[in-house]
Amino acid sequence: MSVQTEKVQWSARVRESAEKNLPPSQLLPDEQPVYVHSWIYVFGALSIAAFGVVLASGLWLSLKGPTWWHTSSIGLFVNSLHLWSAELFFFFMVIHLWGKFWMAAWRGNRSMTWVTGSVAFLASIGTAFTGYLSQQNFASQWIASQGKDGLNAAGVGAFFNVLNFGQMLMWHIVLFPLVVGALIVIHVLLVRKHGVVPPYPVEGQEEFDTGPEAVVDVQGRADGEGGVS
């Protein structure tokens, strides 16, 4: 098989694109620009960690069912774990959003990174809303009866019926998690491709000056100081 033949195949094109845009050293880096050495850059990773707990506890709940999560001690604990990990997911994600907004993190050809993060945030709100509708208790009935009028007024009630428990459950445990999960993966890959946005430059300069030691490894060491280079 000639090289020319390989290039017309979709698998070869995908491989070449991945090698070009996301080489392994960029996909799993061991050093970052010096300006990343701040707590404000931690909240994206914290959001993903919380999302992992949301998924794990959600899978556990889906295996055992509502009688279990409403009556047994462990079920109540896992139910609370799911709620509080979702609360932390939003808590961290909002701080991440604020940080990136004030940095204008869409600069430097990073618009799609910003867009995928924003849409993931909106989809997460839908996931949380359908989660409250899936509790199988009086709170979920109350939220459904209160929410239906607003959604009907918005014209979406015909295909997004909050009084239809089965539909809301499937949105919550299948459709929304797939969308949010896929957007998070794309978002992280875009961050890896374009890098973390640098701070605003000092007035009079065109770019942020990273200095002679522009990168630090995961332990804060510069190249040549025993760190991974």
């Binding site: 010096v34 701040s38 001690s73 109540l76 940080g99 030691e213 804060g220 060491r221």
Partner: protein
Amino acid sequence: MGSIGVTFAGWLGAMVNLDHPAHYVHWGWFQISTANLVVILLMIVVFVLALFVPFPGRRFQ
């Protein structure tokens, strides 16, 4: 969950009595539950701390 877990859950539940209608803060047209207001204020506090608290390890510049 073991007896320690049940005891801890009971102790934690006894700290905050939730068996009442939610508290709300009301300014003119604006209304928000106290719980939501506390969460928003906490997010602002953590955001400011994240900006100013030094990150562990040396910073090279």
